[in-house]
């Protein structure tokens, strides 16, 4: 029963991941982005859980719980908390929505092309979905490049990270728990630091517009 639904579940999860990523590019509202991020975290956790059930490994299930806690609930909550207090306004990204979405499409195609070459030998269901992860990485990067607000960049970074995690789970069924913990911790710390810096930025400049960070140049 599970064997038949497994591909569909994987497809559902990865589809949600890609959809949320694309929507994040589309929507400029900070709050919407954070909600999408939360959804993405949940989808990722679901994906991990599906893989864990399929493999029957407890360790992977535990990782799924970890992902749920950190990416589905923790980080969005922190971001939303701060976000409410400071910025509710929309930001004007460096690329207009149409162009962004077109770029997303192109990046997704690229991800598929690359994956088809790289994962040519791997015929498993999960490997077929791996391009989604790569696409998320690229979309996350696109967010980083185009967003002007410190927190938007943070979100872009998290999307990128989610993408990497997606690739990891889809290609190799996840990394050992210890390592996953370490990686999660690192990501968490990075987010924390960026968070702290964003706070300092707000204190110093009154807002968190990245564009004003142009003092250091040649």
């Amino acid at each position: 029963m599970f064997e038949t639904t497994y591909p569909q579940l994987i497809g559902l999860c990865t589809g949600t991941l890609l959809l949320t990523s694309a929507l994040m590019v589309w929507r400029h509202s900070m709050l919407a982005s954070i909600r999408l991020l939360a959804v993405q975290g949940l989808a990722l956790a679901a994906l991990v859980a599906v893989i864990g059930v399929q493999k029957g490994e407890l360790e992977v299930i535990l990782v799924a719980v970890l992902v749920l806690l950190v990416k589905g609930l923790g980080l969005p909550w922190v971001l939303a908390h701060e976000s409410k207090a400071t910025t509710r306004t929309d930001e004007a990204p460096r690329l207009n929505p149409t162009a962004s979405l077109l770029t997303v499409a192109l990046l997704t195609i690229l991800a598929y092309v690359v994956s088809s070459r790289v994962l040519a030998r791997d015929t498993s269901v999960s490997a077929h979905a791996a391009p989604i992860g790569l696409a998320m990485v690229l979309i996350g990067f696109l967010l980083l490049v185009t967003r002007r607000q410190a927190r938007s960049q943070l979100i872009g970074f998290l999307v990128l990270d989610n993408g990497i995690a997606t690739v990891a789970f889809l290609t190799s069924g996840g990394v050992p728990l210890v390592l996953e913990l370490g990686i999660s911790l690192d990501v968490l710390l990075v987010v924390m630091i960026l968070y702290v810096f964003a706070g300092r930025m707000h204190n110093k400049f009154g807002n968190t517009d990245i564009d004003q960070l142009r003092k250091l140049h040649d």
């Binding site: 070459r117 994962l119 030998r121 990497i164 990891a168 050992p176 960070l213 250091l216 040649d218």
Partner: protein
Amino acid sequence: MAPSLSFALWTPLALPVLFALLSLTVPSPRLRRLGPIASSLAVLASGVILVVAALHDQVPTLGGVLRADALSAYLLTVVGAIGLVSTWGGLGGGGHSQTPARWAGSYDGLISVFLAAMSLAVVADNIGLMWASIEATTITTAFLVGAHRTGKSLEASWKYVILGSVGVAIALLGILLIYAASRATGEATLSWLVLSQPGLPLDPALVRAGGALAVLGFATKAGLAPMHSWLPDAHSQAPAPVSGLMSGVLLAVALYAILRVQTITDAVIGPDFLRAMLSVAGLLSLFVAAALLIRQRDFKRMLAYSSIEHMGLMAIGAAVGAAALPAVLLYMLGHGLVKATLFVVSGRILEVEGTPTIANVRALLVRRPGLAIPWLVAMAALVGFPPFSIFFSEVGIILAGWSAGMGVVVGIALVLLLVIFASLTRLTVALTIGSPHDALDHTPPILPKQVTPRATAPGDESDADREATVLSRREAEAGIDGAGVVNGVAHVADGGSGPEPFPMTSNIRVAAPFPDTVAVTVVDVVVAPDRSTHGPLLPLVLALATCAVVPFIANPVGVLLVRAAAVLGGAH
């Protein structure tokens, strides 16, 4: 034997963490500031012990996670040595002056943690662990870069964290792909030892993609173009010892990661792909460094771009492969030591001059020989003059490059190196050489009140040996032929007294020892040159001496380099 030395695998991790905790708790700032030095010493000592082990054909391991082959041992020593130079040399000030007091403890603690993370990165056998510890360095150094807590340092740290984390994230993606490929060995692993064995049935496509992404990611931390963008900002804003550590250690460790990844991919897909990639990255780095050094204005950014240049050349060495690896490894040590020295000195110059702009400093050799001389010696080493080891590394890489059939790459590299050399020379000369009068506006100089003509005590040998640094030829003739001694000379500018101004050239002695600030406030006057080194000189001397002596030690340094290179497949 082996277990007896494996303690040296955890000491470089545990002791710095311990010292970090002490730094946070000890109230005395003096003691606290010894923490990073102690950490460096711990790392250095562990490194030396592991080197001894490596030279006796031992490979200490610990729990299957930590492992120190010759390469790891060597790099641990490099980390320790450069850490020592940076932290000890940084004692003179620099980092602390602008750091709020309540952060001072965490500043020292973070340096220790940073050292521990670096040590972990080089002794970790697991690529994932290596990745995590390199990422950890981003976290620790982020605060160190922002230690000054100014707008600019905040900007630098933001850029550093964003660009660094994104880069390292890409590396993670690559590592995960390699991990996926490793499933073909039966059990998925990230053990470097396992993966670097030749003849593994790994999926070439996966390994290629993984290797490429991992190298690209680590290239960010290694400061290779086009991922280098964070580097000039971070290096120029960080306190001097931190800049030295980042430039000397962090970049080298990132390159170390690249070398490790390269070994894995080379065994599966051959060297061509990464060779092309590293060559392009190396040349691009040289190009970026050359382009931005031509009209550089800031001496700390100048050093940062020079780091990019040297990393570029090391990347080319890595691209060359086995034959160039000993040279690359020696390069890491030489560049690290010299760059740490330079950053330490640059911190002192920044502190006493109050500006990082070259145009606002100038004539340092006349005004502050105590700072200018170490700077000049280190610059000579940096641009590749013998007997310093960078010369040998560069020559080694370039000769090996030709031999490896990379003549075009090496040729382009030489052209770019020439531009870089000329730019660095021009900037250094602008910073140090010349008379202070050239730097000033044409305000007519006045005699300082402190100057008392004809007051030389004939027996005062120590003062008598001062050299007349601001004498023109004719002035020198008049001044020295008379009494053989010139202590300080008041210079009267041209103008007013006809076509051939006759300078004031009697034996003039500066009566009181000048406080440092005089040279800045009484700008119009050549005062007694400031011979203070503004901080400990010994670490700088040690660093440069090491750099000059090491290339001539065939045993054990030569043996160690060959063995370390052999770990990466560079066996002859």
